[in-house]
Amino acid sequence: MLNYRDMSVADLLALAPPGWGGVLLDGLWLSLQVAGAGYIIGLLIGGSGALLKISGGPLTRDLLTCYTTLVRSIPELVLILLIYFAGPVALNQLLSALGLPKIEISPLVAGITVIALVQGAYITEVVRGAIEAIPVGHIEAARSLGMRPFTIFRRITLPELLPTALPGLSNLWLIATKDTALLAVVGFSELTLVARQAAATTKHHLLFLCAAGLLYLIVSVISNWLFRRLENRVNRGQSHV
């Protein structure tokens, strides 16, 4: 067994083994992959969900309300456990009933699915609110000029909803990056799990938990900066109140 107790902080955080720095960065990269993929799919779900909630028929609207209400009221941790443990069993029973081969859901896929479902539900509501804040007259004016629905979306709806929706969306992104920590429960080696492993193996708990906290902070600070630039861009030409 390695003697971690007498190692210096620099040695402990070194990128190459026996230092754990590289492991932490790998964990961060996995966290960002899950958060990024989940968020992008969530944006697709949320965008389409919001449009359908506003313009869809009564059935679609009710189904979407079910989705957003259910997902927003179940803790993410429970959803992760359901999708990772119960999901595959149910799915494989269905597949073998249909005579299809079994599939296996990896922790990565389960994680992306959960983040996407959760983000999708919240984004649906954020975007719906932003669309509803657009004055009806703007859309009517576009229609009276003969614009097709897609053109209206591209020229009127999207530019007008973004300034209202972006602060909410940037919040959701930050939540997504930290929700990945919940995947530790299924043994997915994201940042929190590897930090806890490093801490327990080396017995330098404070050092590794602080290092993980610092990495999360760096992600947040960079994200905030990017979102602020994005906000400045979509707000251009608008008078600030």
Partner: protein, 257 residues
């Protein structure tokens, strides 16, 4: 509808990401949490330790192609039931509650009840050996139940914690203390333990009180794999592989009796 297509495309791509389960590889599930010296992760992403070596030796003896899969300790039985792993090798004690949901191989180790005492002591961990001696024991522990049943002639002194019993042994107030061998081994390795005490022996097992030991966890109904593992455990026990691996980690008999 655009949304439906999108949903289908998303689902399809997720399915592609997931790999089909492979039937030939036996997945050995271990806990991500370090449990030295049984299973310790290193910074290169590998797991080392006594239990990992034993699991690999069992796989080799059973001619199984094995893969070590780390999953969280909390979810290790659900992982087995959801067929994410095929065998649990995570120091899982055989208990009646667990036997209701999963099956176990024969034991591959058992941390017995050890008796330690002063370095010049010659007390044996038997009823006759401890007769008339003062034995320190943590109250309400399985070891107290063991002593009450098997050491009727010893005078038992109860402690709130094993640490206090160890301290009194160090101070010479008791003749010996009975506890789990791993706990006591850690004390013997400490500065105080090295100065005062030594291992007197492992008490004879009593399945009713001390349990059946630690076995590989298996899904119920997986009898073929169970038979292979049991045969492999016997084989590495008899051909010396088990003793060779254990000698690297422990200076006592980790198998129990």
């Amino acid at each position: 509808m655009k949304f439906k297509k999108l949903l289908l495309a998303t689902t399809a791509s997720l399915m592609l990401l997931s790999t089909a389960a492979s039937a030939d590889i036996t997945r050995i599930g271990i806990a991500t949490e370090p449990y030295p010296p049984f299973s310790v992760p290193d910074a290169a992403g590998n797991y080392n330790g006594w239990e990992i070596e034993i699991a690999n030796a069992v796989c080799a003896a059973a001619k199984l192609e094995c893969e070590i899969v780390a999953s969280a300790w909390d979810g290790i039985i659900p992982s087995l039931k959801a067929e994410k792993i095929d065998v649990i090798a995570a120091s899982l004690s055989v208990t009646a509650a667990r036997l209701k949901v999963i099956d176990f191989s024969n034991k591959y180790y058992q941390t017995g009840a050890a008796l330690i005492g002063a370095a010049n002591s010659s007390i044996a961990p038997t009823a006759a050996g401890v007769g008339g001696k003062t034995i320190g024991i943590q109250s309400a522990s399985i070891h107290q139940a063991y002593a009450a049943k098997h050491f009727p002639d010893a005078s038992i002194r109860e402690y709130q914690s094993q640490d206090e019993a160890n301290q009194d042994l160090f101070a010479g107030r008791i003749d010996a203390t009975l506890a789990d061998v791993l706990t006591l081994d850690a004390f013997l390795a400490s500065e105080e333990g090295q100065a005062c005490c030594k291992l007197l022996g492992i008490a004879k097992n009593d399945v009713e009180i001390l349990g059946e030991g630690i076995g590989f966890g298996l899904r119920k109904g997986n009898d073929e794999l169970k038979a292979k593992l049991n045969a492999a455990i016997d084989q590495i026990r008899s051909d010396g592989t088990y003793a060779k691996i254990s000698a690297k980690y422990f200076d006592f008999n980790i198998y129990g009796d």
